[in-house]
Point group: C2
Chain length 176, copies 2
């Protein structure tokens, strides 16, 4: 698959996963793809934890309510350190988002599916914080997202997107 094909094949998968395990070398390759993303002033504010131990996965999914991605045989948790990169500016959100997008593409390239789960775990009930406690993550890191990883059991669905000409133009705003 070339990059453009992977970019177009990627979708947010919210269905069930098969029982097929994800080999450790694939989880490693996915995380390497994440860490290869650029970061503001090269501050490398993103850290990752892959989880494929079924007892730890079970503990994590106990706090992820309502459940999502709980049938996946693995997940990758995304941690950020919100430090200033340039004067008082922090680019940690941009940094981890770029890392997540790289990982989502690597996941598709390797034949798996995933979904960017962030809003659900960074809300008032602080599920991400509870997940971080289970994984022994110190307080200076924030667990902001997790990506289930596994083979899709159900059909993939594409969300509706606005047509190109409503969102992209040449040489001026709304100029075709």
């Amino acid at each position: 698959m070339n990059t453009l094909e992977a970019i177009n094949a990627r979708t947010s998968y919210r269905g069930k996963y098969t029982d097929d395990k994800v080999p450790k070398e694939h989880l490693q390759a996915i995380m390497e793809a994440g860490l290869a993303a650029p970061s503001g002033c090269n501050k490398q504010t993103t850290y990752l934890i892959a989880v494929d131990d079924s007892s730890i996965l079970k503990k994590l999914h106990e706090v992820i309510q309502p459940p999502i991605g709980d049938t996946a045989p693995a997940m990758i948790c995304v941690l950020t350190k919100r430090i200033a990169a340039y004067r008082d500016k922090c680019f940690a959100t941009q940094d981890y988002a770029a890392a997540i997008e790289n990982m989502l593409l690597a996941i598709v390239e390797l034949g798996y599916q995933s979904c960017w789960i962030e809003g659900h775990i960074t809300d008032e009930d602080r599920i991400g914080y509870q997940m971080a406690r289970i994984l022994g993550v110190p307080d200076e890191y924030e667990l902001v997202c997790f990506l289930p990883v596994g083979k899709a059991e159900e059909e993939l669905k594409k969300v509706f997107k606005q047509p190109f000409e409503k969102r992209a133009w040449f040489n001026g705003f709304q100029n075709k």
Copy 2:
């Protein structure tokens, strides 16, 4: 090039560009890759303007001081609309960062180079705002980043990154 190769080949290029033009269909393909990125609650908050008209490029580079990417024959400007996606949460930064990463990979796939230029134009001197005015962008959109696009004239350099085991672990924090 497969996706993992493109992810590893991508680097932040700050050198000079050759005079080779970027065909419109390549700019379109790069922008399509950007728009294919996921967005929080599918709000599609990212908008794009490719610029390859030399007189408009000249006007834009007059306000980008100190200069960067000014020898590139094209650029893609990234606009965001900071609207709430979920309760009072806005994921516009994550949305445009994922779109930018997709575009950087598409740029590499198509044989070009680029660099994510954000901090430089979103500072107190509000270069991004001045660029937006030149492009006729209404005030509800914020111009947060631009990507020069062109063929590299100079050698590519890779930045130093921390080793994998300092940033990624399995089944627990700092667990190898």
